[in-house]
């Protein structure tokens, strides 16, 4: 970079404008790529946007903290967005009442299995305590998972990355894996995908059917609640 350009960058990076604009531009570019590639689950827009931003920040020598001064305005919206999940959750209220017992049982079992299995496997392969704590809420939607991670002594930003990877894995292998079990009911298929792969899985479940998508969203919301109660207790026992 030439000196004048560097001076301009230093000036701009002191204001939140740059981080905010960079976030929105990178996401929209990433989303365009995702659509261009036929919404392939591997072309996850979050992953592409993050890669773009990390590349730009690294190239310009901008610390993450400086970028976050601007990006925090987008980040802040995770709170109200989590509260807003109550609305699609409420839309499933009549169905939930019918499948209540089965859902609750699958919910609690799935949540415990997710946390315990990821902990034990990662521990067996030599992961550190901090990595284990960051991995524990891996199947939960990010706003909730990051909150859990923070509470139990993980790294919320690492958890966000691990959650993203989990979502991509679940969206890619989920439908194929369910086919091998012969599960016909879209409510159950959607619920299983939402339990293991949260929002990214939910987007994939909507491609199976409306019912699968709705139950995936339902599982995602409920899993967030149950896991935030279950994780601190389980981690206390596992650690």
């Amino acid at each position: 970079m030439n000196p004048e350009l560097r001076e301009l960058w230093v000036y701009l990076s002191t204001s939140p404008l740059l981080g905010l604009t960079l976030t929105l531009l990178a996401y929209q570019l990433a989303y365009a790529v995702y659509v261009k590639l036929g919404s392939h689950p591997l072309a996850n827009p979050v992953a592409i946007a993050v890669a773009l931003i990390v590349a730009i920040l690294t190239f310009t020598g901008t610390p993450y903290a400086v970028y976050f001064e601007g990006a925090q305005f987008v980040h802040f919206l995770l709170g109200p967005a989590t509260v807003a999940l109550a609305v699609p959750l409420y839309a499933q209220w009549p169905r939930l009442k019918k499948l209540f017992g089965a859902s609750m049982l699958a919910l609690v079992t799935g949540s415990v299995v997710s946390v315990v299995s990821v902990w034990l496997i990662a521990e067996a392969f030599g992961a550190s305590d901090q990595v284990l704590r960051s991995l524990a809420p891996k199947s939960v939607t990010s706003p909730i998972g990051m909150g859990i991670s923070e509470k139990i002594g993980g790294l919320p930003s690492l958890t966000a990355v691990l959650i993203m990877l989990t979502g991509i894995v679940g969206a890619v292998i989920g439908p194929a894996l369910l086919k091998t079990t012969g599960t016909q009911d879209d409510a159950i298929r959607g619920f299983a995908i939402g339990m293991s792969a949260h929002g990214i899985g939910t987007a994939r479940a909507f491609q199976i059917s409306e019912t699968a998508g709705a139950f995936s969203a339902l599982a995602m919301g409920l899993n967030g609640v149950i896991t935030s109660i279950v994780v601190p207790v389980l981690v206390h026992g596992l650690a």
Binding site: V54, L105, V161, F191
Partner: protein, 112 residues
């Protein structure tokens, strides 16, 4: 739009306050979501303005993960050293969670 966004923030604020006050193991916005869900069940319908605002926020939910996700740049060293446990654990655990959830729900739904 303004009123429903305020409503979401008020529920988040109530959630955060109660969590801090009672030292609950749940993130504040999650409790806010539960309280809003309960309020909607009691009311019996979702106000149109709230539905529009919620849809607007959730439509670009992925965008909201980007700032925190970019935090990966501060953990590249950690990821490089722990890539094996992370990769194996995420692959296997996600598959196991998916299968167990489906089996349990199928068996329980059949009981009825």
């Amino acid at each position: 739009m303004l009123a429903s966004l305020t409503l979401l923030l008020v529920f988040q604020l109530i959630g955060e306050t109660v969590v801090q006050w009672l030292r609950l193991p749940v993130p504040g916005p999650v409790l806010g979501m539960l309280l809003l869900f309960a309020a909607l069940v009691l009311r019996g319908e979702v106000p149109t303005a709230l539905r529009d605002t919620a849809n607007g926020l959730l439509q670009h939910l992925s965008l909201l993960f980007v700032p925190a996700g970019a935090g990966v740049m501060t953990h590249l060293g950690l990821l490089a050293t722990a890539w094996l446990p992370i990769t194996v654990a995420i692959l296997l655990s996600t598959a196991v969670t998916l299968l167990v959830t489906a089996f349990v729900m199928r068996a329980a739904a059949r009981q009825r």
